[in-house]
C-alpha cells in the first residue's frame, strides 16, 4: 500500500511517469491541490504560480511523448526557497525590502533544474534574507511545522522543509549558511544536504554570507537528495568560487559504495544542552552503524566552542556588505518620506528590513569598522582556519562524523523569538560545517515521544558527497523513518 501521490519520492514518481502511469500534469495538479489544502495551515509559500507550473508540466509531457525526456527529474514539481532567482517570478527573500521585486534572470541552479525538466513551482518562505533558525523572521509571517502546527519548521529554509513535509512539493531547494537546510530537515523529518562549499553555483542565490552560503536539496529520501544534487552540482563560470571537479552519478554511487566506514563521534557535540531524546536517538543510530561493522571512534574538534562567535562575526560582516545594495535607489522598497539622499537610505532600509536583519547588519558593520577589524574579523578568520583544521585532522582517522543535527527538536512558534542568543544556539552543531566548507547531511533518525522528528547529522569530507550519501543511505534503508508522514 503506497503513500498518497503527494508523499511519494522522486524515484517512485519518476518511475510511474516513465511507465506512462502518471503524467507530469496529473502530478502537478495533485501537488497544486495538496498545496491549496494545506497552505492555509502551514504557510510554506510566499507565492505560487499555478498556470506557470502547469505549463511547465505540459511541456514535460510533450517532451516525453516526443521521446526526449530529460531524465528522472523531468515532470517532477520542485519548490525553491525564495532566495533563488527564477526569471519572471518574484524574488523576495521574505523581506518587505523586496516584496514587489520580480527577478529578470535565472539562477544557475534554476537553469540546471529546468534543463533536467523539473516543474518549478512556488516561492518558499524563509527567514528574512535567510537570517534565522525558525522562519519566524519572515516579513510575510511564520511557517508552521506540519508535524505540529504550533511549532516552527526550523529555518531559515523552513518553507522548503514544511512544503515538502506537507506534501506540497516533491523536493525543494534551500540554502544553508549555518544550518539552514539541515536543521529544518531535522525538524520536519526530511533529508537535507548542505554540499561542500563550491560544489553548487551561488549565482542567483541572494547572498547572506558569501563565504558560507551553499544551495542544497531537501528531499524525502537519500536517493532523492542524490538525484537533486546530481542535477544542480557542477562548475559555473558565473561563480568564481565554484569548483571544477567531475560530478559522479550520485544516485548510482549510493548502491556501489558500501562501507564499512570509520565514523567519528566528536565529543564536543554531545555535551550540555543536548536534549536527551535527541541524544538517545543519535546513540541508537551510532549503535546501528557499529552493528554493521563500522569502526566508531571518539574524536575531538577542540575549537568547537568558538564556532558560534566566529560564525556571527564572519556571517554578519559579509551580510552587512552584501545587503548594502538594498538602498531603494535601483529597485526594492523605497521610502515615500525622504527629504534628501541620506533619508532615502536610512528610511528605506529602516522600513524595508526586519529586526534580525538590522541586528546582523549593525553587528557586521561594527566588526568591520576601523580599529575593530583586526580584533574581530581578522581574528575570526584565523579561528575559522583552526576550525577547519580540526575537521581535517579528524578525517585522518575517520571517514565521516556523526552528530545530532540540532540539540533539540522543533520548538514552539514564539518560544525563542525574544531571545536571539537562544535561537543562535540551535545552530551549534551545524555552523562548524559551514565555517569549514564541508558537506553535511541531516536525515531522520526517529521521533520524540510527542511525535516530533529527530535529525541525525553526517559530516563528510570535501567534495565526497557520494560517500556521505552512501553512508546515509545504508542507515535509511535499514530504518524507514521516512515512510511516516504528518497527519494534516
Amino acid at each position: 500500500m503506497s503513500a498518497p501521490l503527494h508523499f511519494q519520492s522522486i524515484a517512485e514518481l519518476s518511475a510511474k511517469i516513465s511507465a506512462g502511469q502518471l503524467s507530469a500534469v496529473e502530478l502537478t495538479q495533485s501537488i497544486i491541490a495538496r498545496t491549496k489544502a494545506v497552505e492555509p495551515r502551514v504557510h510554506a509559500f510566499n507565492s505560487f504560480d499555478d498556470a506557470d507550473a502547469l505549463a511547465q508540466a505540459a511541456a514535460s509531457d510533450a517532451r516525453r511523448k516526443a521521446g526526449q525526456s530529460a531524465g528522472s527529474l523531468d515532470g517532477i514539481p520542485v519548490g525553491l526557497k525564495d532566495v533563488i532567482a527564477v526569471a519572471g517570478q518574484p524574488l523576495t527573500a521574505s523581506s518587505k525590502m523586496l516584496a514587489t521585486f520580480v527577478s529578470p534572470y535565472d539562477a544557475t541552479v534554476t537553469q540546471k533544474l529546468q534543463r533536467a525538466g523539473a516543474v518549478l513551482h512556488g516561492r518558499l518562505n524563509c527567514d528574512e534574507f535567510a537570517m534565522g533558525s525558525s522562519t519566524e523572521n519572515s516579513a510575510f509571517g511564520p511557517t508552521s511545522n506540519p508535524w505540529d502546527l504550533t511549532r516552527t519548521p526550523g529555518g531559515s529554509s523552513g518553507g522548503s522543509a514544511a512544503a515538502l513535509a506537507a506534501g506540497a512539493a516533491v523536493a525543494t531547494l534551500g540554502s544553508d549558511t549555518g544550518g539552514s537546510i539541515r536543521q529544518p530537515a531535522a525538524f520536519c523529518g526530511l533529508v537535507g544536504l548542505k554540499p561542500t562549499y563550491g560544489l553548487i553555483s551561488r549565482y542567483g542565490l541572494i547572498a547572506y554570507a558569501s563565504s558560507l552560503d551553499q544551495i542544497g536539496p531537501l528531499a524525502r529520501t537519500v536517493e532523492d537528495a542524490a538525484i537533486m544534487l546530481g542535477a544542480i552540482a557542477g562548475h559555473d563560470p558565473k561563480d568564481s568560487t565554484s569548483f571544477k571537479s567531475p560530478i559522479p552519478d550520485y544516485r548510482m554511487e549510493l548502491k556501489t559504495r558500501r562501507g564499512p566506514w570509520k565514523l567519528g563521534i566528536p565529543k564536543e557535540y554531545f555535551g550540555a544542552g543536548l536534549d536527551s531524546e535527541v541524544g538517545a536517538a543519535v546513540e541508537k543510530a551510532i549503535a546501528f552503524y557499529r552493528s554493521k561493522g563500522c569502526e566508531i571512534r571518539e574524536v575531538s574538534l577542540p575549537h568547537t566552542q568558538y564556532c558560534l562567535d566566529t560564525y556571527y562575526i564572519i556571517a554578519t560582516a559579509e551580510a552587512s556588505s552584501n545587503l548594502a545594495r538594498y538602498d531603494g535607489i535601483r529597485y526594492g522598497h523605497r521610502t515615500s518620506a525622504a527629504k534628501d539622499l541620506l533619508d532615502v537610505y536610512q528610511k528605506s532600509r529602516a522600513e524595508g528590513f526586519g529586526d534580525e536583519v538590522k541586528r546582523r547588519i549593525i553587528l557586521g558593520t561594527y566588526v568591520l569598522s576601523s580599529g575593530y577589524y583586526d580584533a574581530y574579523y581578522l581574528r575570526a578568520q584565523k579561528v575559522r582556519t583552526l576550525i577547519r583544521q580540526d575537521f581535517l585532522n579528524a578525517y585522518r582517522e575517520v571517514d565521516a562524523l556523526i552528530t545530532p543535527t540540532s540539540p533539540i527538536s522543533a520548538f514552539k512558534i514564539g518560544e525563542k523569538s525574544a531571545d536571539p542568543l537562544a535561537m543562535y544556539l540551535c545552530d551549534i552543531y551545524t555552523i562548524g560545517v559551514n565555517l569549514a566548507g564541508l558537506p553535511a547531511l541531516s536525515l531522520p533518525c526517529g521521533f520524540t515521544q510527542s511525535g516530533l522528528p529527530i535529525g541525525l547529522q553526517l559530516i563528510g569530507q570535501p567534495f565526497r558527497e557520494a560517500d556521505l550519501l552512501a553512508t546515509a543511505y545504508a542507515y535509511e534503508q535499514a530504518h524507514g523513518w521516512n515512510t511516516q508522514f504528518p497527519s494534516l
Binding site: V83, I84, A85, L91, A93, L98, F101, S103, P104, Y105, A107, R202, Y203, G204, L205, I206, A207, A209, S210, S211, P237, K238, D239, S240, T241, A317, E318, S320, S321, A324, R325, Y326, D327, I329, R330, Y331, L341, Y345, T365, L368, S369, S370, Y373, Y377
Partner: protein, 487 residues
C-alpha cells in the same frame, strides 16, 4: 623660512577592454544611458562578479611598462560607502595586496627653450591596483538621475610616492603616464571622456624638513592644465595660510578650474571609514612567470626610450622628436617612412610630418589611422623631390592631393602635369649660356674657386624657366658649359 611643496598623485586610468571588469556586458563611452548594464552591473539580488582576464592583462602590462614588481598573489577587497553611483554600495578594489608594487615614471621637465630637451627624472610609484569604476550622477533641479554605463569599467589606480615638488613635475608625470598607457594600448587616456583622472595630495614643509606636512587632497582636476594650475594654486594657498600665521588642516578640496579657486569638501573628521574586507566572491589571483613573460613580450618601447632612439638613429632635432613621440602612430609613421626613403632623409620626413601632415590631419579632423596617407607615398614623394622630378611648390600640392585621395605621388604628378620641366636640352643650353653671360661677377668668383657662386646662375635660370627647370639638369648643364667654355 623657505618652504617646499610635496606632491603625490593618484591617477585613475580606465582600461580599454571590450567588456566590463566583472561581467560580459560591453564597456564604452557615449552610449544611451543605462544601456551598458546587466544584472551584475545593476547589483541585482543574487548576482556575482567574475574577473575579466583582459583587465588583469592590461594592469600587469602597465606595471611591467612602469618597472613595477608584479605581485605573485593579489586579492580583491570591498571598499564600502553608500552613494547612488555605486550599485552595490561597495566598490571592488584592492586594499592591502595590490597587483603592482613599486616602479617609476620617467618624466621630462620643461627645457630652457622649446628646442632644448629638459631635465629627465624618475618619479617613484607606490603601487598600481585594479578596481571597478562607478556610475555617473546627473543632477537636475529637483532630482538626480544615475547612469550606470560607466559602472564596472575596469579602472586602475596609479599611486605615486609623495616625491614631486612643483606643478610642472606633476604635469610632466601625468603626461608621461598618458603617453605610456597609450603606447601600451592600455587606455586612450582622454581626460574629457574621464579615461584619465587625477587627484593630488599636496603639502608644504620647511626646506630641509623630512617629515611630511599636513596634506590636502585636491579633487576635480579634470584636464591637464587644471592639474598644473590647481596644484600651483593649492601650493600658493598653503604658503599664504602659513605666511599669515595660520594652520593648515587636513581636508579634501574641490578645484574649480574655470574660476581657478578651490573650496573645502570635507575635513579629516568627516573622512569615510571604508570598512575594507576581502571580497568573498572572488578568488585571489596568482600571476606566474609565464603569464608575466607573455605580457612582457607584448610591451612596446616606452615613449622616452623611443625618443632617445629616434634622435640618435635618425639624427632628427629634439623639436621634431618631441612632436612625434607623444603620438605612437605618428612616430611609427615617421620611422616607417624613414626606413623607405633612407635614414639620410629623416629630417626632411620629420619636417613634412610635423608641418604638412599634422596640418592636413588637423584640417580634416581625422586621426592618422583614418587618413589615406601612407609611409610608402610620403617616401615616394620625397624621392621625386630628390630626383629633381618635382619642385617644392608642386610637391606641396601633390602632398595635399595625396592626403585627400591616397594616390601615389607619381600618379598625381602625371595627372596634374606637375612634373619638373623643361626637358628640352636645347632651351636649357640657351638659358644657361645667357645666365653665365649676364653674371660676370659670379663667373669671376666661380673661376676663382668659389663653387657656391654657381647658385647665382641657377637663380636666373629658374626665373627664365618659370620655376620648371629640373634643378639637377640645370646643375649638370651649367658645370659642363663652365668647364668646356670658361676654363
Amino acid at each position: 623660512m623657505n618652504y617646499e611643496a610635496v606632491i603625490g598623485l593618484e591617477v585613475h586610468v580606465q582600461i580599454k577592454t571590450h567588456s566590463k571588469i566583472f561581467t560580459r556586458v560591453g564597456a564604452g563611452f557615449g552610449h544611451e544611458a543605462n544601456t551598458l548594464t546587466d544584472p551584475v552591473v545593476l547589483a541585482l539580488p543574487g548576482t556575482l562578479p567574475v574577473m575579466n582576464k583582459a583587465a588583469l592583462d592590461a594592469v600587469i602590462k602597465a606595471g611591467l611598462l612602469l618597472g613595477c614588481d608584479i605581485a605573485p598573489v593579489c586579492k580583491w577587497d570591498r571598499k564600502q560607502y553608500f552613494y547612488p553611483d555605486s550599485p552595490k554600495n561597495y566598490q571592488i578594489s584592492q586594499y592591502d595586496q595590490p597587483i603592482c608594487l613599486g616602479g617609476w615614471v620617467e618624466i621630462e621637465l620643461p627645457g630652457a627653450a622649446r628646442n632644448v630637451m629638459g631635465e629627465h627624472k624618475r618619479i617613484a610609484l607606490t603601487r598600481i591596483h585594479l578596481e571597478e569604476d562607478v556610475g555617473k550622477l546627473n543632477h537636475h533641479s529637483t532630482d538626480s538621475l544615475v547612469d550606470y554605463n560607466r559602472a564596472g569599467t575596469p579602472l586602475m589606480e596609479i599611486v605615486s610616492e609623495p616625491v614631486m615638488h612643483t606643478a610642472d613635475e606633476a604635469y610632466a608625470y601625468l603626461t608621461s603616464i598618458r603617453n605610456s598607457m597609450i603606447y601600451g594600448g592600455i587606455s586612450d587616456c582622454d581626460m574629457e571622456k574621464g579615461q584619465l583622472r587625477c587627484d593630488a595630495n599636496i603639502s608644504i614643509r620647511p626646506i630641509g624638513e623630512t617629515k611630511l606636512g599636513t596634506k590636502v587632497e585636491l579633487k576635480n582636476l579634470n584636464s591637464f592644465s587644471y592639474v598644473r594650475d590647481g596644484i600651483a594654486h593649492e601650493i600658493k594657498r598653503q604658503l599664504a595660510v602659513v605666511a599669515a600665521g595660520g594652520t593648515l588642516v587636513q581636508e579634501t578640496r574641490d578645484y574649480d578650474g574655470v574660476a581657478g579657486t578651490s573650496q573645502s569638501l570635507r575635513s579629516k573628521e568627516m573622512a569615510h571609514d571604508y570598512r575594507y574586507f576581502p571580497d568573498p566572491d572572488l578568488m585571489p589571483v596568482h600571476v606566474d612567470e609565464a603569464w608575466k613573460e607573455e605580457l612582457r613580450r607584448a610591451c612596446p618601447e616606452l615613449p622616452f626610450d623611443k625618443q632617445r632612439r629616434l634622435i640618435s638613429e635618425y639624427q632628427i632635432p629634439y623639436t621634431i622628436s618631441s612632436v612625434l613621440i607623444p603620438d605612437r602612430e605618428l612616430s611609427d609613421f615617421f620611422e616607417a617612412t624613414a626606413q623607405l626613403a633612407g635614414l639620410g632623409r629623416a629630417q626632411t620626413i620629420g619636417n613634412w610630418i610635423v608641418n604638412d601632415l599634422l596640418r592636413e590631419l588637423g584640417a580634416a579632423k581625422v586621426p592618422l589611422s583614418a587618413s589615406k596617407i601612407s609611409p610608402v607615398n610620403l617616401a615616394a614623394l620625397i624621392q621625386l623631390l630628390d630626383a629633381g622630378a618635382l619642385l617644392n611648390a608642386a610637391a606641396k600640392e601633390v602632398f595635399t592631393t595625396m592626403f585627400a585621395t591616397g594616390e601615389a605621388p607619381a600618379t598625381i604628378v602625371a595627372r596634374l602635369g606637375l612634373a619638373a620641366a623643361p626637358t628640352d636640352a636645347g632651351e636649357l643650353e640657351v638659358w644657361c649660356r645667357e645666365s653665365i653671360a649676364a653674371n660676370a661677377k659670379a663667373l669671376a668668383e666661380f673661376k676663382s674657386g668659389k663653387d657656391s657662386a654657381i647658385n647665382a646662375f641657377k637663380g636666373s635660370i629658374m626665373k627664365a624657366s618659370k620655376g620648371k627647370a629640373n634643378p639637377k639638369l640645370v646643375d649638370e648643364t651649367l658645370r659642363r658649359i663652365l668647364a668646356e667654355e670658361y676654363n
